[in-house]
Amino acid sequence: MRHVYGWLLLLPGFILIVAFTHYPTVTTFINSFFSNQTVLKPRRFIGLDNYEYMIHDPIFMQTLKNTLYFSLTTVPLSIMIALAMAIFVQEKIKARSIVRLAYFTPTILPMVAVANIWLFFYAPEIGLINQVLHYFGFNEYNFLGDRDLVLGSTIVMTVWKEAGFFMIFYLAALQGISKELYEAAKIEGSSSWMTFTKVTFPLLMPTTFFVMINALINSFKMIDHLFILTKGGPDNASNLLLYYIYDVAFSFFDYSYAATLTIVLLSILIIISLIQFGLIEKKIHYK
């Protein structure tokens, strides 16, 4: 009888997970081995053809490269800035709550709104950044129209948006660290850098780990800004994997190739999680 209760309690969550996570994943995996169905061409089994096409698809390779670059820059950058901001507003400074609010503001804004604002920051001639550069006599740049600058520009915007959110976690964690530890460090004559590296940072590791997972997953999910800022252009210089999947599925109607790309994205995320939980977590000091 107890068993039945247990299973009944699990059932709602179980149904949701199966319906919205496992079932779609399995059908996506199956779809990636079939050709796309249209009226002119009925669906048929094509084995690994989609995967073969993918390997030779220059846009896929470009988006994969961009996505990895995007993740490997936005994640550490926003974590470092978040930590720095958290430590700064933790201390007793003037107008502390206003500064905290200012740091957190970008998080409140929807991504599409943020992208619209930054579109006008980056615009040549009329854009804020260029007007400032112009005022001080520097060269103007076409941030979103230059293939060397465009991905960097979206990264800067993303870090600006993300860091404030992660700061909140660090702030909470910092307040959880016992004051006695700092008093002890003071009595021992520890420098502030020493205190940070030997006391604060190790005790923040669980938070850093949590933030890192969130940041990495976020970075793979982040595409809203591309719809407004660049549409992946110029010439795919800022295209990211998820945006490309969207394009393939809903602009090209090629659901089976989109399924193939989704499997790749999924595999990447699984590998990341395995590494994080299998290797890194063991080295973290929990209280």
Partner: protein, 422 residues
């Protein structure tokens, strides 16, 4: 007393059943439509639909605003797959091949059976019918349609010693005037190259005497010498003649650039006309695009489609609704409210639009330009083919490839995609 109550109950039952049967007899239509320019367009659509329902009490229309063109298409097709289909929709005019391939729509040539309906099919500007016609049938009826026009700053023209009533007529003039108009604070010209680069490029190619694809949507002409020349001209405007900034130019901020005087001329959709009119602090003009071999622009915008998965009665009602929405009076109302082109000659003969065009002549430039218009790039596998061309244009404008290499590559890729559709 009891009798009376019985009577009341009986009548109310009869009344209720009559009411429900009247409701059941009502033909219900669901229509999706997009909005991709500013302004209170949903209000105009709602008021038109209300007028229609008043005239046709037996038809019930649910008009659903569905975002931009892409969203509208995705929502319509998703509803179709989910088994709760819409009966009709306004979608991108260039979606036609994809919709045919998805077996989603019926042709108007099959729907319009009576003599009167056939006459109605012929009442629109032929240039607007091009994108909706293939396989010998009409699949889309023009509704919110546009062309590219050239907006220019008359004050800047005066300042540069140019005649403000003589915008450039051809490519060479555009360069020579552009040089005079370019200074520290202002560029001569901006042609947007994000968002819809293939659309702008269609204009340049047509001006050089070429089109980008055949009428069947099975063949592209990206690497014809005249097309390559057109892309080279686009690139030269910035790199050689220095009248346009380098790199790509953003579709979304271009209007602001023009309104704040950072460029003296811009190429943009006529759909921006009302917004420019409302916000310009200087005297501006609207002109047809300049010519090389000839004048030219692609048409753009949205068409009405009727979905296949509908009952005969709903199809009839859909046709009725579309005829109403595209009537000269409603087309005139729509054109004045938005800046989109009135879709038939008769629309411009209505008193309302006649008066508006007299008071505000720029409102007729896009219509007059229809004489030189061609279809917007649209083929089978349209999304992919369009992206190939977009990427190639941007690769040239950002100095990654030469015009010739980029367009040769694009043509090869497009040919490979289209080989099954011959």
């Amino acid at each position: 007393m009891l009798k009376l109550m019985k009577k009341v109950a009986m009548y109310s039952v009869i009344g209720a059943s009559l009411l429900t049967s009247a409701n059941a007899d009502k033909t219900k239509l669901t229509m999706y439509y997009p909005v991709s320019v500013g302004g209170p367009l949903t209000k105009i659509v709602d008021s038109m639909v209300n007028d229609f329902e008043k005239q046709n009490p037996d038809i019930d229309v649910k008009a659903i605003y569905a975002g931009n063109y892409n969203d509208a298409r995705i929502k319509s097709l998703a509803a179709l797959k989910a088994g709760e289909p819409a009966q009709l929709a306004v979608m991108f005019s260039i979606d036609v091949y994809d919709l045919i391939e998805q077996n989603a729509i019926v042709s108007f040539s099959d729907l319009a059976k009576s003599q009167e309906d056939k006459k109605w099919l012929k009442s629109f500007y032929p240039a607007l019918m091009e994108n909706g016609t293939t396989l010998g049938k009409v699949w889309g009826i023009p509704f919110q349609r546009s062309t590219i026009v050239m907006y220019y700053n008359k004050d800047a023209f005066k300042k540069a010693g140019l005649d403000p009533n003589k915008p450039p007529k051809n490519w060479d003039e555009m360069i020579s005037m552009g040089k005079k108009l370019t200074n520290d604070k202002q560029w001569g010209l901006m042609i947007p190259s994000t968002g819809y680069p293939y659309w702008m490029f269609g204009a340049l190619a047509k001006q050089n005497g070429e089109v980008l694809m055949n009428g069947e949507g099975t063949k592209t002409y990206f690497n014809n010498p005249k097309v390559i020349e057109a892309l080279q001209y686009w690139k030269d405007l910035s790199s050689k003649y220095k009248i346009m900034p380098e790199g790509t130019i953003e579709w979304g901020t271009l209007r602001k650039n023009f309104l704040s005087g950072k460029t003296a001329m811009m190429w943009h959709s006529t759909g921006n006309l009302t917004a420019v009119k409302k916000n310009a602090t200087f005297d501006f003009g609207v002109a047809m695009l300049p010519a090389k071999e000839m004048r030219g622009t692609p048409t753009g915008g949205g068409n009405f489609y009727v979905f296949k998965n509908t009952t005969p009665k709903q199809k009839e009602a859909s046709l009725k609704l579309i005829k109403f929405m595209t009537s000269p009076e409603n087309s005139a109302k729509w054109s004045i409210g938005t800046g989109y082109i009135g879709i038939s000659k008769a629309a411009y003969e209505t008193p309302a639009l006649k008066k508006y065009v007299e008071e505000f002549p720029p409102a007729k430039v896009a219509r007059d330009q229809l004489d030189f218009a061609t279809a917007e790039l649209s083929t089978y596998q349209t999304g992919r083919v369009r992206k190939i061309l977009d990427d190639s244009i941007q690769a040239v404008l950002t100095d990654k490839k030469s015009a010739k290499d980029a367009l040769n590559d694009a043509q090869n890729q497009a040919t490979r995609l289209l080989k099954d559709y011959k």
